[in-house]
């Protein structure tokens, strides 16, 4: 039965290809990296907490703001309609003053 080393493995075999051994320096560095990753991921988690708070705040802000915006837009629409009607009235009055009809 093949050991599977280097040249591949038969079904059922375990294959291990060791490129080199881990030196004490490498091991220390790997440990540093793991410790740094814990610290970094803690910061990522804190950022995720902050992002969640921000997202909730944004939703509340948009819900409040857009209800106000929609009301404001409706008022703007009514004002635009009234302004247009006033413009029509003024135009017709100006036209009438010349004796012509629109």
């Amino acid at each position: 039965m093949s050991t599977g080393a280097d040249t591949g493995a038969e079904a059922g075999d375990a294959s291990v290809h060791i490129v080199g051994s881990l030196s004490a320096e490498d091991a220390e560095r790997a440990q540093q990296k793991r410790a740094a990753a814990v610290e970094f991921q803690a910061r990522v988690l804190a950022s995720a907490d902050e992002a969640l708070d921000r997202a909730q705040g944004k939703l509340a802000k948009l819900e409040a703001r857009y209800s106000e915006d929609i009301e404001g837009a409706k008022q703007g629409l009514e004002e635009a309609r009234a302004s247009r009607q006033q413009a029509i009235d003024d135009y017709e009055a100006a036209l009438a003053s010349t004796g012509e009809e629109s």
């Binding site: 560095r29 540093q32 990296k33 410790a35 740094a36 990753a37 610290e39 970094f40 991921q41 910061r43 990522v44 950022s47 995720a48 902050e50 992002a51 921000r54 997202a55 705040g57 944004k58 802000k61 948009l62």
Partner: protein, 156 residues
């Protein structure tokens, strides 16, 4: 052309001013993603092409190391939209740092994008920032030091 400057995306500013996208510099969460020197950023691209993992900002050109500087970028912290200075409005944050044992190679600049925004364009880009050259670190901390005038500064 290569990466040679820092810019705010035209689409980001236009979409904010035109109320096309709810990109909210007060409320949204932004991330900083590192890229190598093989890209040519363009501030005039569409909103879609300014987004993370689209166009020039594809992950193939991204520089990261899991557990030290995440793929997709690191969230900005202490974000603020400052309106308190005459003739200026600026978006700022604390300097953005990796983990303390990072191996980062050839980071040439950073994309700042809106990680909260999901529509009309998800992860739309706000701006990109050139480091003045490629930077690497081995088993150390990679820190993006934002400009003293803020990440994005609008002068009136």
């Amino acid at each position: 052309m290569a990466w040679s400057d820092s810019k705010i995306f035209r689409a980001a500013l236009g979409d904010m001013l035109g109320n096309v996208a709810a990109m909210d510099l007060d409320a949204d969460s932004f991330k900083a993603a590192l890229y190598n020197n093989t890209i040519t950023p363009d501030n005039d691209v569409t909103a879609a092409n300014s987004a993370y993992n689209v166009g020039q900002w594809a992950t193939a050109q991204e520089t990261f190391e899991a557990g030290q500087w995440a793929q997709g970028g690191v969230a900005l912290s202490s974000q603020s939209l400052d309106r308190s200075v005459a003739d200026r409005v600026f978006f700022d944050a604390a300097d953005t740092a990796s983990g303390s044992a990072a191996d980062i190679t050839n980071a040439t600049g950073v994309l700042v994008y809106d990680d909260t925004l999901a529509s009309p364009v998800a992860d739309q880009g706000l701006s990109y920032h050139y480091f003045g050259g490629s930077n690497s670190v081995v088993n150390g901390t990679f820190t993006v030091v934002w400009n003293a005038n803020g990440i994005d500064n609008f002068t009136l």
